[in-house]
Symmetry: D2
Subunit: 429 residues, 4 copies
């Protein structure tokens, strides 16, 4: 599956930078693919883009050179110094493909103008690199939860509001998701921000035949919770309280120090615990900004539970993770998997990717073992569909894919002002 673009929103952040350095290092065989789920034996045979076939670009609102950001991450222990040296040239190339993102504070005019420019950035990238498809992945700063507005349920209302220079109807993440869809791109929401989760955007993705995945990467405390909680259930033990404290530094720590920004994260964590254990569990949860921890995140959880004859027991864990190290390979995995889904003609929310997310779309399955099974089965099905439609992952573009599949992927531009950009893009694929 040659020519997959990865368009990172928040391309100069910790997660994005680590993902890019890692991709370059994997390509150069400097490191083993530790942390890359799609390199596990279960995924052999799944038609995924190779490391060599992924081209990276993106948006950000700051201008720190990627190389400088990578140096900071090396000092923080996330990237070995030898890898840094070996990937410098590659990093500069990606840096040159990062465009200015949308920022509500600096943008003037209607949001529709911003959309047009964002779409243009992506389609130009797709065209210049002759890419089959571009996966847009949101790894920008967390935003607060969105209120409920009529515009979020009606495309007509939304587009009218977007055209109104006096309004800023969409939060940046959702504006970006909208732009991605309008550019004909699958979208991955690695943050808890509203992103593509507005009903109107979901409908649009479905109608455009575009798959999407999300929300909020599961890399630490929540990962453990979704692993441990089913144990209590299976053993008929009654969890009475599950308290958590997260200490984190880095850009994410600074951002989440703001209770308004943190709200989304706390909500997505709480939803998960209730889905796993039911209501009635006392579950205080804190996120603290502790700058001296740098890129490290430390989570402490205290689980108090009741056993036979009312016996009281507890489990505590302390997780010390380098968040971006955990997240970065998943960004690459998601790019590959969503590319395969797109290639296989899937559209709408990809529930089978729940494995990656704190707040998975289109499913209530939070149990990690079950999510692992779902993912593996889904990927296995791709092997077989790839077997039946071999053109999907070969280098023989002259062979036509089955009509309904093309149809679905053809949809994006229909009846929308960016037809040209998309068309030229498709032409180049």
């Amino acid at each position: 599956m040659a020519g997959t673009g990865l368009w990172l929103v928040g391309a100069r952040g910790s997660v994005a930078t680590t993902a890019v350095v890692g991709l370059l290092a994997l390509r150069a065989k400097l490191v083993e693919p530790v942390g890359c789920v799609t390199e596990r034996p279960e995924f052999a045979g799944v038609p995924l883009p190779a490391w060599e076939d992924i081209v990276v670009g993106g948006h950000d609102v700051v201008h720190t050179p990627l190389e400088k950001r990578a140096e900071q991450l090396a000092d923080a222990g996330l990237i070995p110094h030898r890898v840094l040296a070996a990937t410098a040239t590659g990093l500069r190339a990606v840096d040159a493909r990062i465009r200015d993102g949308y920022h509500p504070a600096t943008h003037t005019g209607a949001q529709a103008d911003a959309v047009a420019r964002l779409v243009e950035d992506i389609t130009t990238f797709r065209g210049e690199h002759g890419l089959d498809r571009v996966i847009v992945v949101n790894v920008s700063s967390t935003e607060p939860p969105a209120p409920s507005l009529p515009e979020y349920s009606s495309l007509d209302l939304l587009e009218a509001a977007l055209a109104d220079p006096a309004r800023s109807v969409l939060p940046p993440s959702s504006l970006m998701a909208y732009a991605a869809l309008r550019a004909g791109c699958p979208f991955v929401d690695f943050t808890p921000s509203p992103g593509l989760r507005l009903p109107v955007l979901h409908d649009l993705a479905v109608s455009l035949g575009l798959p999407y995945a999300g929300s909020d990467g599961k890399t630490g405390e929540t990962l453990l919770r979704t692993v441990l909680a089913p144990m209590f259930t299976a053993r008929a033990l009654r969890v009475r309280s599950w308290a958590g404290t997260n200490l984190l530094g880095g850009g994410d720590g600074a951002n989440l120090a703001d209770p308004v920004q943190a709200a989304g994260k706390l909500e997505s964590k709480a939803r998960g615990l209730a889905a796993l254990l039911g209501e009635g569990v006392t579950a205080p949860l804190h996120i603290d900004n502790v700058p001296d921890l740098g890129e490290q995140k430390t989570a402490w959880d205290h689980v108090s539970f009741e056993g036979f004859l009312g016996a009281r027991m507890n489990l505590q864990f302390t997780w010390t993770g380098l968040d971006s190290s955990l997240a970065a390979p998943l960004i690459l995995d998601l790019t590959r998997l969503v590319a395969a889904a797109h290639d296989a003609g899937q559209s709408g929310p990809l529930a089978s990717l729940a494995f990656f997310f704190k707040d998975p779309v289109a499913t209530d399955e939070h149990r990690f073992a079950q999510q692992t099974d779902m993912l593996t089965e889904w990927a296995q099905a791709l092997v077989h569909s790839a077997d039946s439609y071999p053109q999907a992952d070969t280098d023989t573009p002259e062979t036509s894919p089955p009509a309904d599949k093309m149809a679905r992927r053809d949809a994006p531009g229909n009846g929308w002002g960016l037809g040209n950009a998309r068309a030229s893009d498709e032409a180049s694929s």
Copy 2:
């Protein structure tokens, strides 16, 4: 499924006493069945003996009255005082059904004589209470691993040695397992002792058509390991070391303070970790006797792992459990499930019960989520087999079970000197 006997080897120990108090409390509806896996919705419809239908007896080598033992456990926080008061009469009744176990230091004569007496104890119990079947469950003190002897692979050699007053060829747990089989009883090995795991005993169980389950109840650190290790695997993270320290008091703590006795426990724990994560993980493990902890067990594990680009991270957990509270309901669950297996005509090692054990028989599946699925599916199959053979769990003994099933369960007494006891027992069912 009326009339199931539970014969506890180690009937005056912590686990046994807690199980008996709990059974009485459940029967009297004094407590909810927290910790009882077979009371989960997944087991609705499985033909299991009701709490009312389980009669308890057992062997032990000490004479502390069960009521006194229960008081000690109440002081240690395992049993609420109100439950103690309400179950005193029931406890005295069980106490009256406990017989002297086999102890190598006090026994004189050939081990075969001991076997005859142990079998007699069990069959008398079965007869007096008119029980359909008796499940023998080993919850006696842990023994060291057994060496490899020719007698452990040949029934002829074994029986010759048993008959020789100069030898003590079988460790107590295996002698007890042998006696259980000779009494026509399914056997559950809740300890890491040799028990039924000698090849000759396995063959005997199969040939007698008796099911068995084991080994070594999974209630703490190992439970967590089998829950957590698959997470690292699924996420392609590389575990480099997994260190553990177990602090425990109680009878088990005192017993395991002896490195020879502890060897079995440490071995069964190590086997599990290697099965989960492969070789190459540094895994120091300690069991310390800390008498002041009483019935509490505290385990600390430190897992160091490598992620993307060589990043080093770790997870620590502290588990504070009341071991016997965790074990006791599983004893009741196992009694029910093995009774159902026996009733359904299953024989030999029950791999589907791996969920309960550190060192499961007949399977290498250590992953807890997979074990949970195996258990549920197996239990569901019993529902259906029960549907087809309704006599299995009804009160209509006049209806004959299918021939092959009877055949299997008929086997025990064949060609062995205890035919009479068994026969009278069957007659009484």
Copy 3:
């Protein structure tokens, strides 16, 4: 030193009830004085009231019988059942000496009326039991911090406001402290509430020649912080962050779940850390109400520090305490020590008792080892002053103490309407 009264404000709370049961148990020699600092060898020879010589009464705003409260605490693991049984009679006697406390929601009229009644309660108690002195100890629910008011710095303004039925100028803890002083009693502030810490009350205590101690008993996380922080300082290690989470149930947990109430507690904790380590340490701190923990408090602290050449290291601790078990013996210790101070003619804030408090009065010494030395030296000085003035701790009241000492303790009633009560009380001593 016969005849010391202990007047507990919050007499039906967990701390108070545990202290009372403990006092009765010590008196009956049912338990060893574990946790009682004044029973350590360093205090031999200090003229302290014996357990036999302490009579307990108090105020509370609820009516739960002390015996019932004690049963709840026994179920929660704080009091052995056998001790409960043996102290029931004693508990009923104390219960009969508990009077209705002041509650702003139920009181009508001027606060001065409430004061008069509270003073009357205490002086009657002192008179009826012929006590030399009564130590008033505040162990009632935590109150929020008080604002800064002109009335808190001027006795005239304060008393005018107290007389005004339209105002409630003093928070309950301070009203109680004021009443204690007016009754001629030393005061101990075991809570973080404003209590005696208003400047006007401090001045009053000094002018009345009454000693006082406080604030906020140091029994868990803060105790550890004041033990551990000096280690980092002595080793020239640079603490960068010290994060803490406290999980607690019980009455205190419920109370502190209210952020307004918790403010005082959080403030007193933060003050201590800054005093120990200077400014510039990131120190997020949480108190969570986790009802299922009952009387247990679990605190987790994560300390990140920098060493030689910028190396980053950390220390984590988890403290699992039964708060009232830790606090109760200190209540008895404080009663004894403040009685001795009063007897020795000391007045105003007792800085030497900083050992017991999170937010010690009249000193900035938070280091626990230094506080231990201060306490021991101070107590040793009492031995010697007792040697020179032997009448202070003997049963020969006819011998006059030195004039200036008496003068100081004589002060309370002067120029205040409760002269009679006090006089009769003194007469009875």
Copy 4:
């Protein structure tokens, strides 16, 4: 106090290398003196050698260049890469001053011959650099405890045995201590090895007027124990068990993986706990070699204690330290302080330096706060003695020190074959 030599035994090890890099970095003002106790305000005015005045040499039995060792430590996170670059030249200079140490496996001939050579190495170093004195500091691999031999109590017997080529009477650390004394040098024992702790060597140090300090640097778990244990005592809480597990990689981890080598370490830790809390505390303790942790050491301690009315509580801590980062600045501190002691004419064991050691010589004081006071008072006394005898820390060697003081420091060479070397050394000062 110009011209102090630091002679490191084990000069190519982690602790030594970190100390050398650190000294160079401090001298170049590349880093702040975090972790250096002698830079704390309490030590202002104490006549200590400046960083500039310390010259380093040493012995080791391996030949890895110091610069290479430092790179490994940089990769392990102990030394910042920028510091490494800036100290490379200095490191090479120190490297050139490292001589072959004594190794029992490679040495042939009598141990006396080895001593002569080791003494020669040190005195040559002292002479070439015109040093006032050389402090010999043992940071070589841990050795097992020594048996009790008559030669360890009699100088005559010892020297006879040393002269016998058929014997290896002294373990390397003690041979090195003996050589240090014979070279007229104070000795610091930072390891738990026998070193100078044989009675005969103690006597020799005293008779030669040489001060010494030891044993076994206190940098992690034991440091915390000596900080925390006094808290339990002061609060009259009864510690029932104190369990510990240490996970460590690095050279020390590999060495201590051998139970024989670890014995010394475990013994010195156990002695400390008993001295702090008395006998009767269950205290299992483990040291595990976990290579993947590299230079990191993680200790977990679980303290179970009893409070008022028998209440059971616990404290757990996890310490994650970089051992060599913690040890290295103490090596520099000890060099300075022992130099000052020598300069002030002190001889024999320096009990006041207990602050630095797990198993302090000549004192049973293990409480860290008390040790801190002892150290500060002792250092303050040096300020005053320096005031009275200003020549001790000035550059005016023409002024004679008081006779007895000189006498003491004059002793080393007397009646021993290395008179010349020492004389030329003294001449150069």
